[in-house]
Symmetry: C2
Subunit: 169 residues, 2 copies
DNA sequence: GGAAAGTAGCTTAGGAGTAAGCTACTTTCC
DNA sequence: GGAAAGTAGCTTACTCCTAAGCTACTTTCC
């Protein structure tokens, strides 16, 4: 806890200590804050993307296509598994993005079951601007820590995340 | 990055470096992992609560009432603001929990607009078991770190979260 | 080369949240 | 003490997701 002011998570832990002193709440110190941080930054980033007419989920689709490099083409199947989304959910996102002319669907020439999804000019322009704005918001939030602390935090999170994935089944 | 194996977030950062070398992606090292960790642990904890017949959101309602101490009574208004939920969303959660007989709604004796929500015997028993099971799952995940690292991580997250709240408007 | 198994994307039904608007009640303030 | 403003909880319409099931096509394997 060091010399820091108590935050909302500390307050919750204190409440539990009062009514259930038998509980080991140390894991809450970490995960309680992870949940809150995820939600708070998620909401903030959502607002940053809004002027571009896209939601966070739609940003993720465009960003995945952008990262793939030219010709900015992937299958719906790959997109939905990368983004951990059901195929039904991906159909909906692609419908919306296609309606906004940010991407287009075309038949896969090698597999007649499949489609190809490709970023349009407009989609490329939107994601290239939005990704910068989103990163700027996250960088600003991270400035609460100095470079060494940020590096430490990233390393600790990597270790924790790796452990989490391993025991997943 | 120290001497760790690359993870999925590192892979994404490498992809961005290849197609957009101008971007400063350091904030992703932290927030990318925060998002993933939040989702992964959220999913896992959801499975832990399932045998008790409650979702994560419903757990949060019961836990908030439990932490309040006897007589385990709060208003819907306080619950929805504490859990950052609209009143409509809270109405739905309370409906479900009341149907399952885990809590009961009664008129507020001091304010005829308002209600009181109170944990039932059954609700108290359920939350007292579920909270232990949820903490056990989180403690197990945290065992990827030693005690010192876990403490460091909690401190860094507290600082980052405090900074995030401040600049929220 | 033809049956069986697998895979791709879409559709439908249902769950849980938000935003906005409603009624009922309470507080404020002249 | 009565009008205006504020607050509590619910309802409705809508969004976006999942789970399950569908058709169409491809791969596997005898």
């Amino acid at each position: 806890m060091s010399a820091q002011r108590k935050d909302a998570v500390d307050a919750i832990i204190d409440q539990w200590a009062a009514v259930r002193p038998d509980l080991d709440t140390r894991a809450m110190e970490v995960f309680g804050r992870v949940y809150r941080l995820s939600r708070a930054m998620g909401d903030r980033v959502e607002k940053v993307y809004a002027p571009y007419g896209i939601s966070r989920g739609e940003f993720d689709v465009l960003a995945t296509l952008r990262r793939a490099g030219e010709p900015y083409t992937l299958s719906p199947r790959l997109l939905s598994s990368t983004l951990m989304l059901t195929t039904g959910g991906m159909t909906g996102r692609l419908d919306k993005l296609e309606r906004a002319a940010l991407l287009r669907r075309s038949p896969d020439p090698h597999d007649r079951r499949g489609l190809q999804v490709t970023l349009t000019e407009k989609g490329l322009a939107v994601i290239d601007e939005a990704v910068g704005a989103g990163l700027a918001a996250q960088t600003a939030a991270l400035s609460a820590l100095d470079d060494e602390q940020a590096g430490q935090l990233a390393d600790l999170l990597r270790t924790l995340l790796a452990g989490t994935q391993d025991s997943a089944h």
